[in-house]
Homo-oligomer: 415 residues x 2
Amino acid sequence: MTTNSATPTPPADSLPFRIVEKGTLTSPRGFRVGAVCGDIKYGGGRKDVALIISDFPAEAAATFTTNQVKAAPVRVSMRRMKRGKMRGVIVNAGNANACTGVEGLENAKEMVKCAAKAVGCDEREMLVCSTGRIGVQLPMDKVRKAITDAHAALGDNGHSAAEAIMTTDTFPKELVVEFELDGATVRIAGIAKGAGMIHPKMATMLSFITTDAAIDKATLRSCVQQAVDFTFNRISIDGDTSTNDTVIVLANGQAGNETLTSDHKQVGLFQKALQYVMKKLARMIVEDGEGISKIVEVAVKGGKTMRDAKSAALAVARSMLVKTSWCGEDPNWGRLMDAIGYSDARVREELVEIYYDGILAVANGQPSKTPFEQLRKVAQKKSFTITIQLHLGDGEYNIVTTDLTEKYVELNKGE
Amino acid sequence: MTTNSATPTPPADSLPFRIVEKGTLTSPRGFRVGAVCGDIKYGGGRKDVALIISDFPAEAAATFTTNQVKAAPVRVSMRRMKRGKMRGVIVNAGNANACTGVEGLENAKEMVKCAAKAVGCDEREMLVCSTGRIGVQLPMDKVRKAITDAHAALGDNGHSAAEAIMTTDTFPKELVVEFELDGATVRIAGIAKGAGMIHPKMATMLSFITTDAAIDKATLRSCVQQAVDFTFNRISIDGDTSTNDTVIVLANGQAGNETLTSDHKQVGLFQKALQYVMKKLARMIVEDGEGISKIVEVAVKGGKTMRDAKSAALAVARSMLVKTSWCGEDPNWGRLMDAIGYSDARVREELVEIYYDGILAVANGQPSKTPFEQLRKVAQKKSFTITIQLHLGDGEYNIVTTDLTEKYVELNKGE
């Protein structure tokens, strides 16, 4: 792996692909979106149901929450992913359809059925996602009507899907890139929702990616898994992993490129572009974290193993004391030492170095000679990187996380 | 183990021992305390250095932080605990002497040396503790003077030690019980400090226990380990485990009882009394948690194993979303389901029951018929118990924890 999210993203003009300005989920050929107000929770004209379809059967790859308590739509979609090509996804916001028992499972299946019927495809070609409040049954009369309406609204208005999946998000998250493969122009478009409950092993997040690339199923799945591991699985806001997290990628082959396989010489370009889209969406999720005031990248290096580096990074990203000190713009490295010390990572205190945006704060486990005010200047930035060098091996792990603020508590006190 | 901290503590008059009103650390025979203002950090007449001694060599037992980053005094005291009887402890607040390298280690040793010299005992009979800011060298001139002053102040003013070890604590924590053993009256006295960084595997907490019971070393150590496991290791405020946590118990035998051994018929009474003292001190630590507004006991039952029950309980106690919902007095059991689902505990969603103070909120993994307002009434109490029944085995684990408030963030933003 050469990917290292501590390295600043290169400027767009040096990327081997282009950003499509004002691109949406329907920018890749052969995709349509219909998004409507289903009055699931929010009422008042707020879009909350979206139907995303490919006009042609598409290869599909997905990753789902590792939480043992899985929402009904997650169970239904996971089962469907075991088989062949897909035509689309029906998604609602406002109600998670989680902890809803047999009735919830039936409702998720019915969402699939209604959507498949409207589209005119096999039920097994339709996936389903939900996000929102846990433990409340879906208002199925409204949902059924919304699905019919969404189908009627199908068109190239891809942006509306990015809006419809929002819950406490303050802005829609979408990005489209394009590049050439065998002379064909390929596009990859993505949308995401995030806000709270964001932590590796997937967050309360949904993300949908459409691409018109031709790619075989195994190659697509491997590309998606790696891209998710290095992007959506490397962000943490509050350490909570939700019941509904899902990333779905549909590739319908309409670009007309030679089908990508694992030994195709340009599969790396596709992988890079896909990972870039996911990385940018993941960053948008963090930037839109509930009530946050800082974005901090924690880069652990020199772990005895990668697993050690990951344990240390996660302990830091989850520590309430560390996160509150960031909120207070206090370069309190003592709390970092404390957090790595109680993590499962092997740590030899006297070897540890800690840097704030490259400025040495701790050497040999003790305060460096860097003046406090110089460290504080870094801690006052909206976004900075903390690098922790353990000097015990080659294990590395990076995670993008946030501070813990009074505003976070205030926003999450009630639902 | 019959101990179950979910069971309300029986009223004091049914206990097999008595609470000693206004008792202090010097209530047991043969102990003296000297506490003075050493101007270590706080200045202004605030006591911050205490010398606790037994006039007779005492059996000693201790537990220390499991954090790999251990403060210098922890390293020094751990080494000393490997040998024989002890005469006392020198302790300071305001400076943790952690992440201070070789100089810090030398300073911790010098504290021991100064205290032993003043008391007139062997250096190896003296323990040392520190608590406060990490990464700052101790002002040793002040410390040396304070130790001399503390020795000059030695007397039966045990309460002053409870005051001197406070950092952000808002009240001193102390408790004394007494009971008869073989016709002799035995006393167990304890003090503690807590506030932030409180989590199992020991918290940023110090606790000192004195007793005039005669007990052999092995029996004392086994009693202390069990008592700590069921008390100080079962509280969590912010999930952080500090570099300095230490519990020290000194037993000097001056009560004149027949020496307690593991097969003495009254060792259970001693154990019970010791655990009671620690449990009450642990509860006081939680009640004094920085900026908290609720105390919540999380009792997990029916875990496949005890380890599973513990994983589930800790996931709940650490979840920022769960803790903020408590702050908002919201009986948001969905967040509890989510937390146990991502814990390492085995969970079968459809078997889970959740109770708020015994009132059913979740049955078979879904909302019960209990009206929301009834659950909210429990969540509005200052203190309540959440019981999670997993129905997968006999594993049980309880932990006492708190909510996460805006005030916590505010208090911990700076040092």
